[in-house]
């Protein structure tokens, strides 16, 4: 009997190409969008390398220096750096400057934290040109300490990470992404390890190749990673507290993050400003991973507030986005069944009983949603690979998760089933004479 139902479904769908196309399109499109959203979500917020330890991560995105003067005469700010703003507040003149930290500041103050298990420092302010056989390539350069590789668990395709000796000796070694390897060497294979790369004026040996991360976090958006001590000498010698370095830490457990955050806040608030020119107060911003993410989007300085602000609307939006097409599918299926009232009457007049009708319509909906679902999955896969190969989202790349695809297919078929069952049940019980009138 199931074979009959299946054949019948296919016959009906074939005879209604327009209707079939519309429903298939709706189902496929919904599914595709949902899958793209999840893979985008997964790429930026999912448990992917190098952020497997995200729940133990505390980030110090920047420090803020302020100077408050109880002075009614407007001061003309002579420090013309791009971050500076000057405004009057009641009778005070408050000047603020936000930005990353200096090499000395991070290595002298942020390496003795009680709650931090691993320390990552990086400088992402430079580009390095690579040269090979008269060709020139531009790479985003990251200067990172050894602890960086503990905090961010990059996926090593070949070779190994940089270590303490590399920092101490300012060794001429680099870790590069698979993309950089392909650009420079034409391949990202094990044979690249140990080869030389001409970067700027010097030659470096490739120590390791990592898979390019899926998301575009400024914490690891580089192509080539150098030992931290290879950074421009002026960065290392600078006595200023502000400079070009970001910092992130791993605590021993996620529960210790608050303690570390308090420690950092305390450190900033009580920093001895006597050695700092012009400013009289410091604040060390700090955030957990998700707070940092929400902060970045909302430009809201308080990380936990930003997270709350972002979380609720995003969840609502996603729910709405999922609900609308699914409701539409239900609606489509319902009207489809009612449209065929006369057919149901005829079938019953010639001997179909209620459950025959029920099975027939459930089967039709299942076949339709299944075909639509499969098309949707294929579309999503095609679109994801298109987005990824052409870098349409910048460095962010979408993840493939066949498991997720499978679950979506199950969900959509389940909806096809559920949306068919109610109208089919009602129609299967109507009076035959009434449906034939």
């Amino acid at each position: 009997m199931f074979k009959n139902y299946l054949l019948l479904s296919l016959k009906v769908l074939k005879r209604k190409p327009f209707y079939t196309f519309i429903s298939l399109f709706g189902i496929s499109f919904t599914l595709m969008i949902l899958m793209l959203l999840t893979s985008l979500f997964d790429a930026t917020l999912g448990d992917n390398q190098p952020l497997t330890h995200r729940d133990r991560l505390v980030i110090v995105p920047m420090l803020e220096r302020t100077r408050t003067e109880t002075d009614t005469i407007m001061k003309i700010d002579t420090l013309a750096t791009s971050y500076d703003t000057t405004y009057t507040y009641e009778d005070d003149i408050v000047s603020t400057s936000n930005g990353p930290m200096s090499y000395k500041f991070v290595t002298e103050n942020l390496t003795k934290l009680e709650e931090a298990e691993h320390y990552a420092f990086w400088n992402d302010g430079y580009h390095q040109d690579g040269y090979l056989d008269g060709r020139k390539f531009s790479f985003g350069a990251y200067y990172v300490n050894a602890g960086y590789w503990d905090v961010f668990d990059f996926k090593f395709l070949h070779g190994s990470r940089l270590n303490e000796q590399d920092d101490e000796g300012a060794n001429k070694v680099v870790v590069i992404t698979d993309k950089a390897a392909k650009t420079y060497f034409g391949e990202a294979t094990a044979s690249v390890i140990g080869q030389e790369m001409q970067l700027g004026a010097e030659t470096f040996r490739v120590r390791g190749i990592v898979a390019r991360p899926l998301s575009d976090s400024p914490m690891f958006a580089g192509d080539v990673f150098f030992p931290i001590t290879r950074v421009d000498q002026r960065e290392i010698d600078s006595d200023d507290v502000s400079g070009g370095f970001g910092a992130a830490f791993l605590t021993s457990t996620s529960g210790r993050r608050e303690a570390l955050k308090n420690e950092l806040t305390f450190l900033g608030d009580n920093y001895d400003m006597s050695g700092v020119e012009f400013y009289d107060k410091m604040r060390l911003f700090n955030a957990t991973f998700y707070e940092g993410y929400a902060r970045g989007i909302l430009q809201e300085e308080d990380g936990s507030k930003a997270l709350r602000l972002l979380f609720i609307p995003v969840v609502l939006l996603i729910l709405l986005f999922v609900a609308l097409p699914l409701l539409n599918l239900v609606n489509l299926n319902i009207s489809r069944v009612y449209e065929r009232k006369a057919e149901i009457g005829v079938r019953k007049a010639f001997g179909a009983n209620g459950s025959d009708i029920l099975y027939q319509f459930i089967f039709e909906n299942l076949v339709l949603t299944f075909i639509g679902g499969v098309i949707g999955v294929l579309l999503a896969i095609a679109l994801i690979s298109y987005v990824n190969t052409n870098d349409l989202l910048g460095i962010t790349r979408l993840s493939y998760s066949y498991e997720v695809f499978f679950y979506f297919l199950v969900v959509i078929v389940l909806f096809g089933f559920l949306s068919g069952i109610l109208p089919a049940y009602r129609m299967s019980r109507t009076n035959v004479a009434d449906s034939l009138r």
Partner: protein, 221 residues
């Protein structure tokens, strides 16, 4: 044989109650070709539907082959319809999404008949109504008379004992109507199929064994 006893059918809407049939008695012996006539709205279709087990009487009993069908459940009644009855409607009621031969196969879908056998019986029934060459057409590619012949093929494919036809020639011109009538007469004569036919056409009614006239839900002859 179909027998209805003291059947009353009332339709109730919010404001009014319509008595479509009132205390009706009718018995149709096996092999009879019976026609039913009467003015519009007098209850002819209602009577036919009740005899065909696709509508339920408000009061009274319907018996098929001597057994009252009250007390049978929906599945058993569906079985009865499938095996004993064949319907022909004024407006054909073919399924437009299915080909002619698929339409004819319909009653066999709800029986244990294999696909090949189904196809064979359907083609045989189509041959019987002279439409073998239209098997793969779709209903909207046929004329009214052809549609009704497909409907007859569908009604006879399962070899039912009884055929119920509600104005089968009502939508057709007189020539096509005669053709349909001839098929029904032949069916009755050759296979002994019991036929109950509602008609507005005295000429058609005259060709049948017996005529029953209704008026306002009651038998007048």
């Amino acid at each position: 044989m179909i027998e209805i006893q003291n059947v009353t059918k009332a339709y109730r809407t919010d404001t009014i109650e319509t008595i479509a049939l009132h205390n009706m008695n009718l018995s149709v012996p096996s092999g009879e070709f019976l026609s039913i006539m009467g003015p519009s709205g007098c209850g002819k279709s209602t009577l036919l539907n009740i005899m065909g087990l696709i509508d339920e009487p408000t009061e009274g009993t319907v018996s098929l082959a001597g057994k009252p069908i009250t007390g049978y459940n929906g599945k058993q009644i569906a079985r009865f319809r499938n095996e004993q009855l064949g319907f022909i409607f004024q407006s054909f009621h073919l399924i437009n999404d299915l080909s002619v031969v698929d339409n004819v196969e319909l009653p066999l879908l709800y029986r244990k008949v294999g696909g090949k056998e189904r196809r064979r019986l359907a083609l045989e029934a189509l041959a019987h109504v002279g439409l073998s060459n239209r098997a793969t057409h779709f209903p909207n590619q046929l004329s009214g008379g052809q549609k009704q012949r497909v409907a007859i093929a569908r009604a006879i494919v399962g070899r039912p004992n009884i055929i119920l036809a509600d104005e089968p020639t009502g939508n057709l011109d007189s020539h096509m109507g005669d053709e349909i009538m001839d098929i029904l007469l032949k069916l009755n004569a050759e296979l002994g199929t019991t036929i109950v036919m509602v008609t507005h056409d005295e000429r058609m009614a005259k060709k049948t064994h017996r005529l029953v006239r209704l008026s306002d839900g009651e038998r007048v002859s």
